[in-house]
C-alpha cells in the first residue's frame, strides 16, 4: 500500500511544516492570504513532483526551495506593515495568550514589523534561522551558499534589525 503510505507521510509533512512555510512566505510577500495560497501551492507542486515518480532526499529542504521559487514571482508589497495590520490580518496572533503578556505581545509584533521592513535578503535569512529554526547548514544548502557566508548574512541582518529597534 505504498500510495497510502506516501499520502500519509505527505499529510504528516503538511502538519509539521505548514506553519513554518507560512511564516517564510508571509515575510516574503507580506500578505496573509497570498502566503496561505503559496503554502498550498508549495505542497501541491511538491506532491505533483513526487507523484511523477521522482524521489526527494530531504523533504523539508525541498519544500522550502519550492516555496522560495513559487513566491519569487509574487510582487512583494512595498508598503510597510503597521502593528494594527499585523494584528487585524491575523499576521501576528500569539498562540497561547497565557504565555505572552500584552506587553510582550506588543514587543513581538513591533519586532516582526521591523523584520518585515528589512530588505529581502535579511528578511529571508532571519525568518529561516530564527522564526523557523533552520540550522545554518540547511539554509546554506537551500540558498546555494557557503555556511560561513550565511552566518555573516545572519549576523549583519541581526545588526540591521537591532538598529531599527533602537
Amino acid at each position: 500500500m505504498k500510495r497510502k503510505i506516501h499520502e500519509a507521510a505527505f499529510i504528516e509533512a503538511y502538519d509539521l511544516y505548514a506553519d513554518a512555510l507560512f511564516r517564510y512566505c508571509y515575510f516574503r510577500v507580506k500578505d496573509r492570504d497570498l502566503a496561505k495560497e503559496l503554502v498550498q501551492e508549495t505542497f501541491a507542486k511538491t506532491w505533483a513532483y513526487l507523484a511523477s515518480g521522482k524521489e526527494v532526499e530531504n523533504l523539508r529542504a525541498f519544500l522550502y526551495r519550492v516555496a522560495h521559487n513559487t513566491s519569487v514571482n509574487e510582487q512583494t508589497r512595498t508598503k510597510a506593515l503597521s502593528l494594527d495590520e499585523l494584528r487585524d490580518a491575523g499576521g501576528y496572533d500569539p498562540v497561547d495568550e497565557r504565555e505572552v503578556t500584552p506587553e510582550q505581545g506588543a514587543e513581538h509584533a513591533l519586532l516582526l514589523r521591523h523584520l518585515a521592513e528589512l530588505d529581502e535578503s535579511a528578511r529571508e535569512v532571519l525568518t529561516l534561522r530564527y522564526l523557523n529554526g533552520l540550522p545554518v547548514q540547511e539554509i546554506a544548502d537551500m540558498l546555494g551558499e557557503e555556511p560561513n557566508a550565511v552566518s555573516v548574512r545572519i549576523h549583519r541582518s541581526l545588526a540591521k534589525l537591532k538598529e531599527r529597534m533602537q
Binding site: 503510505i5 507521510a9 505527505f10 496561505k36 503554502v39 496572533d93 498562540v95 530564527y130 541581526l158
Partner: protein, 333 residues
C-alpha cells in the same frame, strides 16, 4: 559580538509562535491537499496506453473535461451520487486513472481506494437521507466490482512472486472494509434506519469481508510457513514502515487539534494510539527474539488498527457524527 544579539535572537524565536495558520485554516488546507492528492496518482505510465479501454460514453465525457480545462474533473472529485458530476468521477476520471496505472500493486491500491470511496459516498448519502434503492444497488454493484478488481490484482501480484505485497494489499483492504462497516453501524445507531442492515450493500460488504479475510489469512500462512526468512523479514519491514508512518501521521493530526475534535475524541484517539504502540513494542520484542512469525502477526494487527483509526477519524470529520468514540470504544472493549 554574537552576545549582543542573544536577546534579539530569543525574541525572534518567541515571536515566531504568533505567526501561524489558524486551526481552521490548517484544517481547510489539509482537506484541500488531500483532495488534490486523490486526483494525482503515483506510478503513472504513458498516457497514450490503453485509451481504447474507455467506452464511447466515457470518451464523450472526457472531451467535455478537456474542453473545460480539467476544472470539471477537479470539481467532480467530491461529488456524490445524484450529482451531475458524479458520472464524470466514476465513469471518466477514475477509470482513466485506473488504466494509466502501472503494475499490479498500484492497480490493487487504486481498486481498494475506489471501494473505500464508494463506502464513503454510501455513508454520506445515507446521512443526508438521500439513499434510495437505485443508488444503494448501484453503490453495492460498484463496491463488488472494485473489490473483485482488487482481489484479481492481488492474486496477480502473488503470481508475480510478490507475496509480501499481496499480503499487504489484502490486509489493507480487509481493515478498510472492516472500518467502513463500523462507520456504517455507528451511523445507523446515530440515525436509525439510515443504513438498512438487510440492504444490498450490507450483504456485499459482508461477503467482501469474508473473502478478503480468508485471502489475507492464506497469504500470511503462506509467508510464515515458507520459513523463508528474507521473505518474512521483507513482509515485516513493510508492515513496520506502514504502521510507523500512519502512527506519526495520526499523532501529527491529533496535535493539530482539528475543529471536529472534542476532548473525548482526543482521549479516545490517544488511547487507541497507545494500544497500537504497545502492539508495535511487542512486535519489536518478538523480532529481537527472532520470533519473526509472531512479530509479523503483531505488526499486521497494529497496521489494521491504525488503518481503521484513520478511516474512522475521516468519517467523524466528514459526517459530523461522533464515530470516533463509539467505534473505538467497542473496538477496545
Amino acid at each position: 559580538m554574537n552576545q549582543n544579539f542573544t536577546q534579539l535572537e530569543k525574541d525572534l524565536e518567541r515571536a515566531a509562535n504568533g505567526v501561524t495558520l489558524s486551526v481552521h485554516e490548517k484544517d481547510t488546507g489539509r482537506t484541500a491537499l488531500r483532495a488534490y492528492m486523490k486526483q494525482t496518482g503515483r506510478s503513472l505510465r504513458s498516457p497514450y496506453q490503453n485509451f481504447m479501454i474507455l467506452t464511447v460514453r466515457s470518451m464523450t465525457l472526457l472531451l467535455i473535461i478537456v474542453v473545460s480545462g480539467g476544472s470539471i474533473a477537479s470539481a467532480s472529485e467530491s461529488s456524490l451520487p445524484g450529482s451531475m458530476l458524479y458520472s464524470v468521477k466514476t465513469q471518466v476520471t477514475e477509470p482513466l486513472r485506473a488504466v494509466l496505472l502501472s503494475g499490479s500493486e498500484a492497480r490493487a491500491d487504486f481498486a481498494v481506494e475506489r471501494a473505500s470511496r464508494r463506502l464513503e459516498e454510501y455513508a454520506q448519502v445515507s446521512k443526508e437521507n438521500r439513499l434510495d434503492e437505485v443508488t444503494s444497488n448501484a453503490l453495492a454493484e460498484a463496491l463488488q466490482t472494485h473489490v473483485a478488481t482488487a482481489n484479481k490484482e492481488i492474486q496477480a501480484l502473488a503470481q508475480e512472486g510478490n507475496e509480501t505485497g499481496a499480503f499487504d494489499a489484502t490486509s489493507d483492504l480487509y481493515s478498510i472494509l472492516e472500518a467502513h462497516a463500523e462507520v456504517l453501524d455507528r451511523l445507523d445507531d446515530a440515525h436509525p434506519g439510515t443504513v438498512p442492515e438487510d440492504g444490498e450493500l450490507a450483504q456485499t460488504l459482508a461477503d467482501a469481508l469474508e473473502s478478503t479475510e480468508s485471502l489475507s489469512t492464506s497469504f500470511e500462512t503462506s509467508i510464515t510457513s515458507s520459513l523463508d526468512t528474507p521473505k518474512i523479514e521483507a513482509a515485516l519491514k513493510n508492515q513496520q514502515e506502514e504502521v510507523g508512518v500512519l502512527v506519526r501521521a495520526l499523532e501529527a493530526y491529533a496535535t493539530s487539534t482539528p475543529v471536529s475534535f472534542d476532548s473525548a475524541d482526543a482521549l479516545t484517539l490517544a488511547k487507541a494510539l497507545t494500544e497500537v504502540r504497545s502492539l508495535m513494542e511487542e512486535a519489536t520484542r518478538a523480532q529481537d527474539e527472532n520470533r519473526l512469525t509472531d512479530a509479523l502477526s503483531l505488526y499486521a494487527d497494529a497496521n489494521a488498527k491504525v488503518n481503521q483509526l484513520d478511516i474512522i477519524l475521516k468519517a467523524d470529520s466528514q459526517l459530523g457524527v461522533d464515530i470516533i468514540n463509539a467505534t473505538s470504544s467497542s473496538d477496545t472493549e
